[in-house]
Amino acid sequence: MKREVFHNWTIMVIFLITASIPGLSKAQSFVGTWNFDKSQSKNVGAFFESGEMRYQMKIIPEGNGKMVIEDLTSTEAGWRKSKLNVDLNAPETTSIHPRGNLASFSFEAVAIGPNQTIKTKAVQGSDKFAFDLTSYFTVLVSQGTYNIVLYSHYKLSPDGKTLTVTETRNSRKYDKQAVYVFHKAD
């Protein structure tokens, strides 16, 4: 049977913030379209590892520290889009994520419920090519809900063409980090 394709919203938020970090040239900017590279990524979950899934992100600046991140994943019906609004001038960002299963949890029964709020905090990294994001959200599981804390480190390559995101989450501390690699499409 064919597998379902789900979102991974967390990746999106990162790029918003990085795009507005002072000191980055346009060439080094996070703004633009990014294509997921399955072959260079590791421990990212069964959906991302499968050849069936296509994953792309677009980061669209809206000025004054605000940006929109569009998360595009392929489905049997075509591309599926979700949007994340981020405000760099606020201590915390709040978004509503579409309900459904989470691709980063592979084939575990973990889902986002309806009208799920996600709160994110961004922290500048030790250099201008990196930053850290901490996200808080609640997932649905068979016993009810569980509060997830997702730690993400974003690193832009010096040439601005590759973005590497490493992730760990509180529910899976014992495992190796997930490493998502993206290449600039435009």
Binding site: E4, E49, R99, G113, P114, V141, S142, Q143, G144
Partner: protein
């Protein structure tokens, strides 16, 4: 005193009457269990299934099989261990041991045609450049009592004295798929049986695997290869029309096309018309299998755990169910019997080919547990079935479960692209119309429908094991699930993809600590109902 001549005449008359009587009942004898030896022929159809490769020979033999087996089991085909159905030799061995089947091999196609000449009125030539003409030729074969051939097989057929019944070469060159099947509908629909339809999908392109064609030909069924996606407007319209002409709960055999549409679009459309889906296009030997009957008084006996005096422990209970495990999965592969394991049963076989189920039931170890599937008496999506038919569908499934000594039922509904969960009214329908089931399981991948009613649990899979996941990653997934669900007991239903065998599952479980406890599915459902630490959940409201 009667003369010797008179006595002799009377004896001859009685003998003649007896002979006539024997002839009259001989056909009926094949419809009932026979303790007499059933002499059959067997041929090997292994090959590459390529339209310009081995398919001509394979398709010819499959079509011949359909004609030959219409009134008795006469020809059985071996598909080899590399075929998706790995059990054709094992089943034949079973028939030989348990059902008095004796066989001889036929080595060549000409030999088979000569032996079974009287069942074949001629041949139908398909156009190898147009796949739909091959599909259509199966319909024609059943109606005209012919075998299907490629053009380069014509000399062989002519040499053997067979006549051409139809020639589809060049006939459909300027037609699209919809036009071709409209042509087929106009010419063959009223002559076909409508007992079932055959979706000759599966692999497209250079290959075709029409294993199920023998049954369709035997039944004079209408074959098609039309997309069930609404976006394929004309094909969708035509196939919907075909489905609308079938009686509710008729069968759709075969399988959807891997290039044209999706399983979920196919079963959704079928369910809209309350039709029963049974796969696959590769399903072999059904024209033969259905003749092998059960011994008189045979009762199916499945494994059942002792559910009395169960005590719930503060454990992570794990129970496994293998998808499609009997025919195309891991039944014949290493590890079976070493741990409690659930196997999905195609219940329609109880009426269609009960000896196949007998084969599995009698091979089952005490650790092999059977569960009825899938959604209805066959593969149906309950949310897509018109509400007026849903109670009937569930009751039909319930009756089959009783016949097969099953007390657990599985549902999978992919009619909604956003969720695999079920609304409360659907869950309640299963509770209501399947009163003898001790529990239910939902999903293919993980899902989130959970309920308990009157001591019966309705659960969903918490984990799906895909073939590509490494052992280490799976262990990490299961440990994470244990973290995400901290209450104990935690009930973790585990769905295993058909090609993963029991040994591989055992190897995974070795890495998990004693907190994880493997139990049979009936015990799992009973324990879950006794201490439901899961949250009652239904499909998200929109």
């Amino acid at each position: 005193m009667k003369s010797n001549k008179s006595i002799l005449m009377r004896a001859l008359a009685y003998s003649l009457l007896a002979a006539i009587g024997i002839l009259l009942v001989s056909d009926q004898a094949f419809a009932k269990y026979s303790e007499k030896t059933i002499h059959v022929s067997v041929m090997n159809v292994e090959g590459n299934w390529e339209i310009t490769g081995d398919l001509p020979q394979q398709a010819l033999l499959i079509s011949l099989q359909g004609l030959v087996n219409r009134t008795a089991p006469r020809l059985y085909l071996l598909y080899g261990l590399h075929y998706v159905y790995t059990n054709t030799q094992a089943l034949l061995d079973f028939y030989q041991e348990q059902h008095h089947v004796d066989y001889m091999m036929i080595k060549s196609v000409p030999d088979a045609l000569v032996k079974f000449r009287k069942y074949v009125k001629g041949y139908i030539v398909y156009d190898q450049k147009i796949r739909d003409s091959i599909v259509l030729s199966f319909t024609a074969a059943g109606i005209m009592d012919g075998v299907v051939v490629a053009p380069d097989q014509i000399p062989m057929m002519e040499k053997l004295g067979f006549k051409m019944l139809a020639d589809f070469r060049g006939k459909f060159e300027n037609m699209d798929t919809t036009q071709i099947y409209k042509w087929a509908y106009n010419h063959y629909w009223n002559k076909s049986s409508h007992k079932e339809l055959i979706y000759m999908g599966g692999e497209e392109g250079k290959r075709m695997q029409p294993g199920v064609a023998d049954m369709g030909i035997a039944d004079r069924a209408f074959f098609y290869d039309l997309s069930t996606l609404p976006s394929s407007v004309t094909q969708y319209k035509l196939v919907s029309m075909l489905y609308s002409k079938m009686k509710p709960f008729s069968f759709l055999f075969g399988w959807h096309s891997y290039m044209k549409d999706y399983e979920h679009s196919y079963v959704t459309l079928a369910s809209h018309y309350a039709l029963r889906v049974e796969g696959l296009n590769t399903l072999p030997n059904m024209s033969f299998n259905r003749w092998i009957k059960l011994p008189p008084g045979y009762k199916f006996k499945a494994s059942h755990s002792n559910l009395k005096n169960l005590k719930v422990e503060k454990k992570i209970y794990v129970s496994f169910i293998q998808s499609d495990g009997l025919g195309i999965g891991a039944w014949l592969r290493p590890g079976r019997g070493q741990i409690p394991y659930g196997w999905e049963v195609n219940m329609y076989l109880y009426h269609y080919a009960p000896a196949i189920l007998q084969f599995y039931y009698e091979q089952a170890t005490p650790n092999d547990f059977f569960i009825g599937t899938l959604g209805g008496p066959s593969y149906m999506y309950p949310k897509a079935i018109p509400p007026k038919y849903l109670p009937t569908a569930i009751k039909m499934a319930s009756k089959l479960m009783k016949d097969l000594d099953l007390n657990m039922f599985e549902i999978f509904d992919a009619s909604d692209s956003l969720t695999r969960d079920l609304p409360k009214n659907i869950v309640d329908a299963y509770f209501k119309y399947m009163p003898n089931a001790i529990g239910f399981v939902n999903g293919y991948g993980p899902a989130h429908t959970f309920a308990v009613k009157n001591g019966r649990a309705f659960m969903s899979f918490d984990y799906y094991l895909p073939p590509t996941r490494s052992e280490k990653e799976v262990v990490g997934d299961l440990k994470e699930l244990a973290t995400l669900n901290p209450k104990r007991p935690y009930f973790l239903f585990f769905h295993v993809r058909e090609y993963t065998d029991v040994k591989e599952v055992m190897d995974i479980m070795k890495h998990l600590g004693p907190e994880f406890k493997i139990v049979p599915i009936d015990e799992f459902l009973k324990l879950a109902a006794m201490d439901p630490t899961f949250k009652t959940q239904y499909q998200f409201t929109r």
